[in-house]
Amino acid sequence: MAEVVGIGAAPRRKEDFRFVTGRGNYVADIVRPGMAFGAFLRSVHAHAEIGAVDTAAAAAMPGVRAVFTGADMAADGVGGLPVGWGIVGRDGLPMKEPPHPALAVGKVRYVGDAVAFVVADTLEAARAAAEAIVVDYRPLPAVVDMAAALTPGSPLVFDDVPGNLCCDWELGDAIAVDKAFAKAAHVARLKLVNNRLIGNPMEPRAAIGEYNAGTGQYTLWTTSQFPHVVRLLMGEFVLHIPQHRLRVVAPDVGGGFGVKQFHYAEEAVVTWAAGKLACPVKWVCERSEGFISDAHGRDHVTEAALALDAEGRFLGMKVETLANMGGYLSTFGPNIPTNLYAPLLSGVYTTPAIHCSVKVVFTNTVPVDAYRGAGRPEATFVVERLVDVAAIEMGIDKAEIRRRNMIPAEAYPYQTPVLVEYDSGNPRACLDRVVELADVAGFPARREASAKAGKYRGLGFSTYVEACGLAPSRLAGQLGARGGLYESATVRVHPTGQVTVLIGTHNHGQGHETTFAQIVSDKLGVPFDQVDIVFGDTDKVQFGMGTYGSRSLVVGGAALSKASDKVILKARKIAAHLLEAAEQDVVFENGKASVAGTDRAKTFAEIAGAAYVPHNYPLETLEPGLEEQAYYDPVNFTYPGGAHVAEVEIDPETGVVTLAAYTAVDDVGTVINPMIVEGQIHGGIIQGVGQALFEHGVYDPDSGQLLSGSFMDYCMPRADDLPKMTTTTQSTQCAHTPMGVKGCGECGTIGSPAAVINAVVDALAPLGVKHVDMPASPGRIWHLMRNAGLAQAAE
C-alpha cells in the first residue's frame, strides 16, 4: 500500500505474506552449521529422590557427544532459574523461594522435571541415549491437591517449606468487610474451582544455543515472548554471561498466550551445553513433552461470599483462594494469583469493601504461571458467578442486578477498595449494547423453541473489567516486581525517508508489524509500505520487556508514539533551517513540513536526505541523522472491559453443551486496526470458551501423573465445536495513554468463562442446579443432571 494508512484503518497485515507462503522463520526451522541435537530425560515420578544417575551407557552410544546432569551444571557454577516477582505475606515475610535448578538436583518434584540432557549428532541418537540413562529414583509420596498439600503431615515438596505454603497473602480491608457482612440483608456464597489449563500455543517451544569461541559471544534462539528479559535473567542469574556477550533472538513465534513469557530451563541448558561442546545445540519440544514442561495456568480453589442489602446492592465481598504454584516457582508464578487477581475483584461494581486472601501452595505438579488473562479471568469468574448466584437467590433480574451496582460513567476515575483506580469506562453502555445485540429480549422464545426440541437453553452475562498495559514500574515495584515494565522504541529514518522501527515488544500473532506501521505512517505521513517493524533480537533492538498482559500497543505503542514525536520535532528543526523560517512557524503534517500560511514546504524524504547529507544543515546546533528513541513507562494500568452474553443449549440425553451464540461488546479504547482487534477478541473469547467447556489439566491424585497429557485427552477447541460470534467495540478513551488505547489481547479470555458458565447454570436452573465447575464437559453435566433428577425425585 503505497499510501499513508492511519489509525482506524484495516490494511492487510504485513506479516501475512511470509506466513501464507510458508516462509515464516520459526526456531524449529533454523539450521546452524555443525548443529547437534538435544533431548531431555524427564522424571516419570511426581516426587522422588534422585540417587545415582548412570550416564555411562548413554554416553557410549553412537553419535552421542555428551550427557549432562544437574550435578554437572551445579559443578560448573550454573545458577538456578530466578523468579521475576517476589510477594510478601500477610505476616510481612517474603514468600518462600526455594532454588529451581535447570536440571533437577537431589529430588524431582513433578512428572516432567528435567533430570538429564543428551546432545548427539542426530535427534534420534539423542533420544535413544536419553532412554539408556539409568536413574536411581527413590519414589516419595506425592501431593497434587492443594488442600491436601496444606494439611499437616502432607508430603513436603521442599523440606524447608513447612505445609507447602509459599506465601499467605492478602489484600483489602478485612474489618470493613466484616462490618458490611454484619449489616447484610443477604449473603451469597459460592465455592468454585478455576480449572488448570495448559496453554498449548500451536508452535511447541524450541531453543538453539550457540557459542562463538572466537568472540566469546553466545547466541540463543528461542520461542520467547520477551528475548531481552531472557537475556537478563539467563545471563545474569543462571549462566553468568555478561549481557554484551549474549544475544537472544526470538524470531517468528507461533503463539504465546503467556506460555512463552517465562525463562525456561531448556533455554539455559542448550546455551550452556553449546558453550561446553563448542557446537550449536538444538532442542525442539514435542507436544507431549510440552504438556509436562510448559508452565500451566489457573488452578485455583476459591470460597467467596457477597454481602448485599435488601435492594440487591453490593456491600462487601470476601474471597479466600488457594492457588497452585506446582513444583517450583516459575518466572512470574507468585504474582499471578495475587497482584493480578485480587485487585480485579471490584469488577465493574461499586462494592465498597473487599478482602481477599490467597494461599500460594507448592504441589508435585508442573509449575503454574501466567496464561492469557493471568489472574484476571480467575477474578472475573469469581465476581461474575457470585453476582449471578446473588441475583438468583434474591430473585433479581441478572442484567438489572448488574446495572444497579455498576460504576456510573460519570464516576470515573474510580478508586476501588482493592488498590487500583480505573481511569475510564462506561460499563453500563456496554451492557445496554450487548443486551440489544444479543437479542436478550427474544431469549424466552428461543428457550421455548429449544424446550420443544427437548433441549435446555440458557443465557449468561459477564460484565468485566481487566487491568492491563503492564505496567507502571513504580507501582509494580511496590508490589514486588524485580524489574521495570516500561517499553522502548527506536524510529530509524533512512536517508531516503523510509522507516525502520526497532521495538522491544514481540509479535507472535498480534499483528504488531501492521499496527505499529500504521502508527508511524499516521504520525510521520510516510507510506505504510515504507515502514517496517523489527523486534525479537537483542542485538538489533535496544531493550524491551516483551509482549504479555495486553501491553504491546499500550506501552510499546506509546513508546513508538513518543519516538515518532521526537522525530517530528527534529524534522521541524531541519525544515526550519531548509525553509529559512522560524521553527515555531513550521508545521508538520501529512508527511510535509511547511511554513504556516505559505506554500513553502519540504517533504519528509527531503528532510531525511538533508539530515544524512548535511551540506545545508545547522551542524552547529543539530546532529546529523534522523533517528530517535523513546522509553515509556505508563502512569497507570489500563482498564479495558466489556459485556458479554453467551447462549447455550444442552442435550439432556448426553449432557453435551453447545455454545449456540456468543455476543461481545468490548471497551478497548482507541482502535488502531479494527480487523486485528476483532481477531484478537475472537481468539480470546474462544480460549475462555475452551476453559469453560473443554480444557482441563487433570492429575491423578495418587500417582501425580498428568492424565491429560496429549491432545488425545486435553480437549482443544475445534472449529466444529463453535458458533459464529458477534463482536463489536464500544469504547471510551484511556485517559493516560498517548493514543487513548487500552489493549485488547486478553479481554475475550477474561470475559468469556463466566458468561458461558452462567449460561450453563441458567439452562440447568429448572433442575435446581446452582453451580457448574469448569469445564462443563458432557460427563460432568450428565452427572449433574442425573443427581439433580434423583434429588428432585427424592423430594
Partner: protein, 266 residues
C-alpha cells in the same frame, strides 16, 4: 522412530513370505495407529511390510455380499456408491472416522487388525456378522475380536478383505471423546434376516455384543425399545472423560440413535 527395514511387496505371497521370515516384522497399511506408536517409541519393529502395492483396495458387491478390500481407505469407503446403495451404515461409519486427513490414509484392514477398543469398524463387523478374510482363511467377526488390541490373527497373517452382508437396515451412532474424537461409546445396530445384532465399541476393553438389546429390538425395532434396555456399567471403561455409569447411559442413547438412523436408511 528407530530404524527399520522397509519392504513393499508386489504380491500377497511375497508379503506373507517376508512376514514369515523376518522376526518382528509388522504390516503397514494406512499407518494411522502404527506410525504414532513408533514415533512415541512404544513400538520398534525390525521391519515394516507395506501393503500399498497390493491390489487390495477394491469395493464390490455380489449376491448380497459386500467385499471391501483391506487397504480401502476410509474416505473411499465413505464415498462408495456401492455401499451407499446396499450398506449405507458402513459408509456413514467410515465417513465419521477421525478427521478428513485420517480418512485419506487410514484403511479398513488396519483398523480391524489393530482392534483398538475405541475404533469404529469393529462394531460394524461384529454387528453385521462380517467375515475377516486373510491370506489363509476367513474368520467370522464373533471369533475375530479377542480382547484389548487382540485378534484371532496368527503371527504373520494378513487381512486381505472384509465381507459384509448387504443390509440397508443397519447403522452406527457414536459419542465421541471431545478431545481425541475417538468413540467413548459407539453402537452399531444391524437388522439381519436371522435377527437384530448390536455391537458396542469404545465402552469396554474390546468390542462386544448386547444380547438383551438384541432381544428387545427383535421384538420392536424402535429407538424407544433400544433406550428402554438397562445397560450394566459393570466392566465398562472409566477415564477422565467418562466413567462407567455415563458410558452405560451413552450406550443406550447411541443405540437409540443408531436404530433411528437404520430405519431412515431402510
Amino acid at each position: 522412530m528407530r530404524d527399520f527395514a522397509y519392504h513393499k511387496p508386489a504380491t500377497i505371497e511375497a508379503a506373507a513370505g517376508l512376514l514369515a521370515t523376518i522376526e518382528d516384522a509388522r504390516v503397514l497399511a494406512g499407518g494411522m495407529t502404527l506410525l504414532p506408536t513408533m514415533k512415541q517409541r512404544l513400538a520398534a519393529p525390525e521391519a515394516l511390510v507395506d501393503l500399498a502395492a497390493l491390489p487390495l483396495s477394491g469395493i464390490a458387491e455380489a449376491d448380497g455380499v459386500v467385499t471391501i478390500g483391506a487397504t480401502a481407505r476410509h474416505a473411499d469407503v465413505a464415498a462408495s456408491p456401492i455401499l451407499a446403495r446396499v450398506l449405507p451404515g458402513v459408509a456413514a461409519l467410515a465417513g465419521g472416522i477421525g478427521d478428513p486427513q485420517v480418512r485419506h490414509r487410514g484403511t479398513i484392514g488396519g483398523s480391524v487388525a489393530n482392534n483398538d477398543p475405541a475404533a469404529d469398524y469393529p462394531a460394524a463387523l461384529l454387528a453385521l456378522g462380517a467375515e475377516v478374510v486373510t491370506d489363509r482363511r476367513a474368520i467370522v467377526a464373533d471369533d475375530f475380536f479377542v480382547g484389548l488390541f487382540e485378534t484371532a490373527l496368527a503371527p504373520g497373517e494378513i487381512v486381505t478383505a472384509i465381507r459384509f452382508p448387504a443390509v440397508r437396515r443397519a447403522a452406527y451412532a457414536k459419542f465421541r471423546s471431545p478431545a481425541s474424537r475417538y468413540a467413548l461409546a459407539g453402537v452399531f445396530v444391524a437388522a439381519l434376516p436371522a435377527g437384530v445384532r448390536v455391537a458396542v465399541t469404545g465402552a469396554g476393553p474390546s468390542v462386544f455384543r448386547l444380547p438383551a438389546m438384541e432381544a428387545a429390538l427383535d421384538k420392536s425395532f424402535t429407538p424407544e425399545a433400544a433406550r428402554a434396555v438397562a445397560i450394566d456399567p459393570a466392566g465398562l471403561n472409566s477415564d477422565i472423560h467418562a466413567d462407567a455409569a455415563y458410558r452405560a447411559h451413552l450406550v443406550g442413547v447411541m443405540a437409540g440413535r443408531a436404530v433411528a438412523a437404520a430405519i431412515a436408511f431402510s
